[in-house]
Amino acid sequence: MFLINCPYCGERDQQEFKAGGEAHIERPKQPTELSDDEWAEYLFMRKNIKGVQFERWNHAHGCRKWFNMVRDTSNDEIKAIYKMGEKPPSQ
């Protein structure tokens, strides 16, 4: 449990948010040309990092907007928050 600084609403309890998993997984540009292996990679395989991870979050019980977060999964410390479409901060 921690506080999240929503880029639209400000600091709120994590309970208001929904985690959306790993960020920056690009949707295949030519889905019809993907092999089964590439589909599996896109759909199921995850980095699941212990340490600094890039993720998507949704302010589900607030403004309902999506945004990105850089968070250390080993201690839940939030390193950065940035809006959808913005470039991720360099680590």
Partner: protein, 420 residues
């Protein structure tokens, strides 16, 4: 397999009583790692120790080691709510989990170690019409697979566990339930200790405080592991690292279809016997049993974000306790004693992975998510078979990594009983 000197019996208890129980032998040694093993198991939890035990016992691989970054049984093995059952929906899962349940039934005798396996029954409650349909379907599927299961009416639920509030006026009334009488609980620590003692007696090195830092490869084959106690040469590495499976996979350049999330549990102060079975409720997310010490053992849900903190959010526990109180008003003045979290590795289809990988000699046993404890003996047995033969046993063939490519998933979200 145990010498008479180390076999636990009523005679050994009497004999040791004369020396005030101060001269019991160590249950397992504390060896320094050898330079090379025929196989190394990464992770000294129940599944890893069971794997080592069956590798030595059934496949005569005695020159093997288990490396554990902390102490054995200190991860999810010591953190779960100890529930054992096999009432899963699909044929593949029924085969896997009932294989484990059958081993549980003779495990204390086999290990010469009391794992306190108690077939007190597990009841799964239905709270809405879809639950009723799903649970009836699962009961039929179980019986077709030779797994004992009965569907209970609301009255029968009340008769089996009188403290449940079956009033139609509660928010999510009890519309029925299923009962697996062969299901129950076991003492989780004893499972790790029993397997460790058994494996040790057959020559397995159990190396604690030894964290894996890297996996050395020669081309596409495993050559050994880098650890905090130095390099260990081996051609076979079986990874049984639960929530940290992805961490080990990343060392080998593999990605797994896993997300690691906190799962919480809590126990109350000890009270006199009040609930003599295990009751699980998926819809309102509450499950409860009572330990032999008298504590209520309560399982909560997972948080929805990836975290390795072994903590969890307060509202998850609060939600579970709200449901517990509605179903069991008699617990309203119970005080909770402890709360903790474990890191569970969750697969997209809520089924485990016991599989070879694209790297020769590297095997993964992971993805048990919120319900791995029940499968410990079967998981160890089948994973040992997979490692020894470099081929899966027919009972774990469906639980290969390739199912995420072929699409042949084993969707057990309904039977997993913990929403995720």
């Amino acid at each position: 397999m145990f010498s008479m000197k180390s076999k636990y019996s009523v005679f050994s208890i009497i004999k040791n009583a004369f020396s005030y129980h101060e001269n019991w032998g160590k249950a397992w040694k504390d060896p320094t790692p050898k330079k090379e093993y025929d196989a190394v198991i990464v992770g000294g939890g129940g599944h890893g120790l069971a794997t080592a035990y069956y590798l030595a016992k059934k496949h005569k691989m005695n020159n093997i080691a288990v490396v554990e970054k902390g102490w054995i049984g200190g991860g999810n093995t010591g953190r779960n709510t100890t529930i054992i059952r096999s009432n899963y929906l699909w044929d593949a899962s029924a085969g896997l989990y009932d294989h484990a349940l059958k081993i549980w039934e003779g495990l204390s005798q086999e290990l010469n170690y009391n794992v306190m396996f108690s077939q007190r029954g597990v009841m799964n409650l239905a709270h809405n019409l879809q639950d009723v349909r799903d649970l009836k379907r699962r009961t039929h599927a179980n019986r077709l697979n030779g797994i004992d299961a009965v569907y209970l009416s609301t009255e029968e639920v009340k008769k089996f566990c009188p403290i449940i509030n079956t009033s139609p006026d509660i928010r999510y009334p009890v519309l029925g339930g299923t009962l697996q009488r062969r299901a129950g609980t076991a003492r989780h620590d004893a499972v790790a200790w029993g397997y460790a003692r058994g494996a040790d007696a057959m020559g397995v090195d159990i190396i604690q405080n030894c964290e894996v830092k890297g996996i050395k490869r020669n081309g596409n084959s495993v050559e050994g592991i880098e650890t905090t106690k130095g390099f260990i040469k081996t051609k076979k590495v079986g990874v049984v690292a639960a929530g940290h499976s992805s961490v080990i996979a990343n060392m080998a350049g593999l990605r797994l279809p896993l997300e690691s999330k906190p799962l919480q549990a809590l126990v109350s102060e000890p009270v006199k016997p009040i609930i003599d079975t295990v009751v699980m409720s998926n819809a309102v997310h509450a499950y409860v049993s009572q330990s032999d010490k008298g504590e209520l053992v309560i399982g909560a849900g997972t948080d929805d974000y990836v975290s390795y903190t072994q903590k969890g959010s307060h509202q998850i526990v609060e939600g579970t306790l709200n449901a517990i109180l509605e179903l069991y008003p008699i617990f309203s003045r119970m005080r909770m004693l402890r709360q903790w979290g474990g890191i569970v590795d969750i697969c997209p289809d809520a089924s485990p992975i016991l599989s070879k990988t694209s790297i020769k000699g590297l095997y993964f046993n992971c993805g048990w998510g919120t319900g791995g404890f029940k499968a410990t003996p079967g998981s160890g047995d089948l994973f040992a078979h997979t490692i020894a033969n470099d081929e899966p046993h027919k009972l774990n063939a469906a639980f290969n990594l390739n199912r995420f490519v072929s699409g042949d998933l084993v969707d057990e979200h309904g039977a997993a009983a913990v929403a995720h």
